[in-house]
């Protein structure tokens, strides 16, 4: 959405993903599109069921076997990720494109030392020898702020705290200096003080390397602090896409506005908070309205039930609504 | 969904389980009504010894002219009955012991642990042999011995299930609601342990049948001329070489069928009993 001279690093275009389940086909994503420029930090924000994690896994091409990409393209660094063969994608994953996960301890192999796990990535993607990789792993541990890195490299994940495990995860993800880091709820499960230091680290390393970040989160505060731009998702749709300050100063989509109105902030009392009526629509339905927020929206009109879902682009902002605020 | 509707749903989605249940029904029929329904008296000898399967004798006759089919069908009651008795016994004792060990920990766990370790130190069949030989060669002792050698597996499975739920939120919630330790074990932990134990019951039925038959095969437990699958296999074994394969084969197949059925049923039972599968 921002005007750039270069083509974006990542372009997701009209992406639709469905999952086949026993109880029907879940239309998890529909028409999702956004771009991430080099060095930009974009937040994908939404509540549970919004499709934000599915989007991240789609970009990494790590979707569940039951998933079907029914339309759209994902172009990363000029490569069509969905059309490329597995070998090409496997080369990119871990090197140009990497990910850190929600539960840091769960994303590490519990029976291998952390230094070895970092070295694995280096051997696979940076073509280092085992010894060189091991040395570089220690250096990376130091870069992510782990004290006494030479000794810690020989530790197992269970010997490390949650914050340290997440740092190891960051070391693994950043080992080969990727162009894009996808962070899937990286701070859930960490203490508030640790969250702050971890995000400082990611931001600092990102700035130093010109790395772009895709930050998936439900935490609006985190998104405010760390993102240049925010993509708001609801029930598998992108409902709004705007620079952070502009989004919060003047939300245009009713869902964004209600989401903000429901989030506790200093200066607001409990009575000031408003809820969003209803719940997520059942994504297995065949008769989903074109706007999936339709049933819960206080601004809907008769023509909101008619396809297609409108997408307005103005001043570098996207809002998917017929009656934006 | 009612329990019955759910059961039907599971069976519909899982034809193999349906088959297992159908076979179980067949075995149950044989056990309950077999001795009354069979064409020939299982103990009656005739002069048509060692005749191969024919229209008259579906499974042929053995060395004493007894109809093999009638004996196989009639033996179901004894084999299944003994196995069931053993399993019922070990299910009751093993589950309770395991839950107590897993939930209470401490000395309870250590004592029960030592008991199971001691039993498991022996090759189980040899232990059963030893117990029956020492205690006396009766049907009751065969049942007890079978129960004892299966005790460790029940106790261990129950212990693990109880242990992982020990710190669960709902245990704390139960205490907040005024439940004593015994109440928690009986009414909170046990209902969660039962589905897994059901699978174990089914699997153990298979082992118990094999055990009973095996002990009879070597002369402990049931004695001839009673019809029992193990004895029949033992008696028929000597005739295989001389070409009368049917005497040992059919009781062997019956054993195989019974074990196969109970193994398959284990999974199906768990699907039905576990509420997480209910939609």
């Amino acid at each position: 959405m921002t005007a750039t001279r270069q083509p974006p690093l990542l372009a997701v275009e009209d992406l639709s993903v469905s999952f086949r389940t026993r109880s029907g086909t879940v239309r998890a994503l529909e028409g999702v599109g956004f771009t991430i420029a080099r060095g930009e930090t974009v937040g994908i924000v939404g509540e549970s069921g919004s499709g934000k994690s599915v989007t991240a896994y789609a970009v990494m091409r790590l979707l569940d076997p039951a998933a079907r990409v029914t339309s759209g393209r994902i172009v990363f660094g000029g490569l069509d990720m969905l059309a490329a063969d597995e070998a090409t994608v496997a080369e990119i994953r871990g090197r140009e494109l990497s990910m850190i996960f929600q539960n840091p301890r769960a994303s590490l192999n519990p029976i291998r030392r952390v230094g070895a796990q970092i070295a694995d990535v280096l051997v696979r993607h940076a073509n280092l020898s085992a010894r060189a990789a091991a040395e570089r792993a220690v250096a990376l541990l130091a870069e992510v702020g782990i004290p006494d890195p030479a000794r810690r490299a020989r530790a197992y994940p269970f010997e490390l705290s949650g914050g340290m495990c997440q740092r190891v995860g960051i070391a693994i993800a950043l080992a080969c200096r990727p162009a894009l880091l996808i962070a899937d709820e990286p701070t859930t499960g960490l203490d508030v003080t640790t969250q702050a230091t971890i995000m400082d680290l990611v931001a600092a390393l990102g700035r130093a390397r010109g790395m772009a970040t895709m930050l998936i989160t439900h935490d609006l505060g985190l998104a405010t602090e760390r993102c240049d731009r925010i993509v708001v998702m609801h029930a598998g749709h992108v409902v709004e896409d705007a620079p952070t300050e502009a989004l919060f100063a003047r939300p245009r989509h009713p869902y964004t506005e209600r989401l903000l109105a429901a989030t506790p902030r200093p200066g607001r009392s409990l009575a000031d908070l408003r809820t969003i009526p209803g719940g997520l629509p059942d994504l297995r339905r065949d008769d989903l309205p074109p706007c999936r927020f339709h049933d819960r929206c206080h601004r809907r009109s008769v023509d909101c039930a008619l396809p297609p879902l409108p997408r307005r682009v103005e001043n570098g902002r996207l809002v998917a609504c017929r009656h934006p605020l | 969904m009612s329990a019955l509707a759910h059961a039907r749903h599971v069976l519909a989605g899982n034809p193999v389980t349906g088959l297992a249940f159908a076979l179980f029904a067949l075995l149950l029929l044989a056990a309950l009504a077999g001795p009354e329904l069979v064409p020939y008296d299982p103990l009656a000898s005739s002069d048509r010894a060692l005749s191969p399967p024919s229209a008259l004798h579906w499974f042929g006759t053995d060395n004493l002219g007894r109809d093999v089919f009638s004996r196989v069908a009639a033996a179901a009651r004894l084999d299944l009955g003994m196995a069931f008795a053993a399993v019922a016994l070990v299910f009751g004792t093993g589950t309770v012991a395991g839950v107590a060990a897993g939930f209470l920990g401490g000395w309870t766990d250590r004592v029960i642990g030592r008991v199971t370790d001691t039993i498991m130190a022996f090759p189980l069949f040899v232990l059963a042999m030893g117990l029956v030989a020492a205690a006396g060669n009766t049907v009751a002792n065969v049942v007890y011995a079978t129960a004892i050698i299966n005790f460790p597996i029940y106790a261990r499975v129950a212990r693990t299930e109880a242990n992982i739920r020990r710190e669960a939120g709902f245990v704390e919630a139960a205490r907040l609601a005024g439940a004593s330790t015994a109440t928690v074990m009986l009414f909170e932990i046990l209902p969660n342990v039962l589905p897994i134990m059901m699978v174990q019951v089914s699997l153990t039925m298979g082992y118990a049948i094999l055990n009973t038959a095996g002990l009879s095969f070597i002369g402990l437990g049931i004695r001839p001329p009673t019809a029992e699958w193990g004895i029949m296999v033992a008696e028929g074994a000597g005739y295989i070489v001389s070409g009368e394969w049917w005497i040992a084969l059919f009781p062997g197949l019956a054993l195989m069928l019974a074990v196969f059925t109970f193994n398959l049923m284990g999974d199906g039972l768990r699907d039905i009993v576990d509420p997480r599968r209910r939609t």
Binding site: T224, T244, L259, P264, S269, L273 | L176, A177, S180, P275
Partner: protein, 331 residues
């Protein structure tokens, strides 16, 4: 001033870890989970309890709920010291119905083999002795109070949504109309839109049933929103206490300051220097009694902090901090 609903005096909990040799004269290493904690909860008050994982707040809540016994200390509730009643026997004590708890993981706190109705009925059956029609009526009343549709009572936990499970957990906790409700991160697993509704429900229940709350949460925006007073815990000790708004706006203890600085406000980017903590907390095993436990991580540490335990500084009415050099308003 009315008497507090609950008063904790000098509560400590030490866990022996590892085993000393058979002939050891001294006890083996001890994990100091809770260390001489004292505070009071007034009638109708919501007191917040915040701190990092491992700070002892979970252990403290379990002690207050009488699920485990403290190693020492008193809990004055309803005119007696309920800490003196062993946890195993407390389930039969009359005060059991007066202290209840709402859990973070609503699904895990409901027995997966029981329906919502069974869950809510359990305390009524065991603590109030209700049966049959009377029991059903009370369950329905609790469900109605919590906005839980009666049709959902026959469902199992895995058939309920996050918000519905939360309501079941709350209905069960308030069924016996307790005086004190301990809430352990009740909304952290919920979406923000559901959280609003649940928080509003909790506020309404507190008023209508005249309860006091001990609200444990890591979401400091929520704590600021609904708590009257806040207790900040670190490595088993209460390092600061005060009115919620003041504690975060003008903290006394450096740790509280770090907490406050780590709060991210949706919609506002905060400028200015932020206090960040490095490293991890010290080990709670056999902590040095002669040093401040925050020393080493504290950006304001002085020599004195390593040599003497910090005193409790009373800054104003209801405000205290455990520190050798608390932050002043100007710092």
């Amino acid at each position: 001033m009315t008497a507090p609903v609950l008063e904790a005096r000098g509560l400590s909990k030490r866990f022996p870890i590892g085993r000393p040799g058979l002939l050891a004269r001294r006890p083996g290493p001890l994990l100091h989970a809770v260390d001489r904690v004292s505070f009071a909860i007034g009638a109708g008050e919501t007191v917040g309890l915040v701190g990092e994982s491992g700070c002892g707040k979970t252990t403290l809540t379990r002690i207050l709920a009488r699920l485990i016994d403290p190693t020492e200390g008193e809990i004055r509730f309803g005119g007696e010291d309920i800490a003196a009643v062993p946890a195993g026997r407390f389930s039969r004590h009359p005060a059991r119905a007066a202290i209840q708890m709402v859990f973070q993981d609503a699904e895990g706190s409901i027995n997966p083999r029981f329906t919502a109705l069974d869950a809510i009925a359990a305390p009524l059956r065991r603590l109030k002795g209700l049966r049959g029609a009377a029991l059903e009526a009370e369950v329905a009343r609790a469900a109605d109070r919590c906005g839980l549709p009666r049709a959902l009572l026959s469902r199992f936990p895995h058939q309920l949504s996050g918000g519905q499970k939360a309501r079941v957990g709350i209905a069960r906790a308030i069924a016996t109309e307790p005086k004190l409700l301990i809430l352990d991160e009740p909304t952290s697993a919920l979406d923000v839109s559901v959280q609003v509704v649940i928080l509003a429900l909790l506020a309404e229940l507190k008023a209508s049933l005249g309860m006091s709350y001990l609200f444990v949460s890591h979401d400091l925006n929520v704590v600021r929103l609904i708590c009257d007073r806040v207790l900040v815990m670190y490595l088993g000790q209460i390092v600061e206490e005060g009115p919620a708004e003041t504690v975060f706006r003008a903290p006394l203890h450096p740790y509280t300051r770090a907490l406050a600085d780590s709060i991210a406000i949706p919609g506002e980017r905060r400028a200015g220097p932020k206090l960040r903590l490095s490293g991890d907390p010290k080990s709670p095993i056999d902590p040095d009694p002669k040093a401040c436990r925050f020393h080493g991580r504290c950006p304001r540490g002085r020599e004195l902090c390593a040599k003497a335990p910090p005193p409790e500084v009373i800054a104003a009415l209801g405000r205290r901090a455990l520190c050798h050099q608390p932050l002043t308003e100007a710092a």
